[in-house]
Amino acid sequence: MSDIRSVVLGQAAAITAGDVKAVLFYYAPGAVRYTLAPPLRQTDDAHDPEPLAAWLATFEAPPEIEVTELSIVTDGDVAYTTSLDRMTATSVGSGHTFTLWYRATLGLRRIDGEWKVAHEHHSVPFAMDGSLRALVDLEPPA
């Protein structure tokens, strides 16, 4: 459990540090990612640093990622985690600082003794009031 927790928290810390190489270290080869940003799915090389570097460059500083309510379940060489994560960042250009809560599900596989992220799914719910807007202003219940 502690190894898996270290992966989840370590990857979040690497994003906060803006350390692209460290973030990508945690991915398994062929990882399938459902991220907050399009496309619908990302099955490209998860170890390609360019997309992540380009995303980080949209912020004035690397976003702060906080992992909360982390739940870990494991059996054999497969594990999954769920959490509610908080991202705080300032957009380049607008200077707008925002905080976004999102739901995170990670699937992990133990490969050669090391836990790697084989799947990640990040999302926010969306409004059913006709606006179809992504609900980026939700917060976990106190």
Partner: protein, 139 residues
Amino acid sequence: VGDFASEVVPLLRAEVMALHSGDTAPRKALWSHREPVTLFGAEFTRSGWAELEPIFDHLATTFVGGGRDTRYEVLSADCSGDLGYVVAIERSQVGDRPMYELRVTTLFRREDGAWRVIHRHADPLTPASRALIADRQAS
């Protein structure tokens, strides 16, 4: 994707189609009632069976026209020990509405010899799918 996916994907497809037709029995049978069990749904985020069961009952009342079709494009699936997962694009048609698609991550735990769903994370990334889900009750 192996025997595991061959076993569970038809069950997922059946319970989603049933839910779209107002029948929660297949979902309640397939889902674990033990902790931890969680839903990160397109509309709702819930944890624990006491929260999940009423939300499934509610969801089953919101689809008009009945489940016409549900298809799974499985991108990844595997199991180890008593845990398994399916990563897929789930495409559904309800009533005479166009098909919509969800990104779905489903996690399973084997309980008493049977695979049970313990987590579903689903979201419609495309605006078209969001619209189809959001106005489903108005159709």
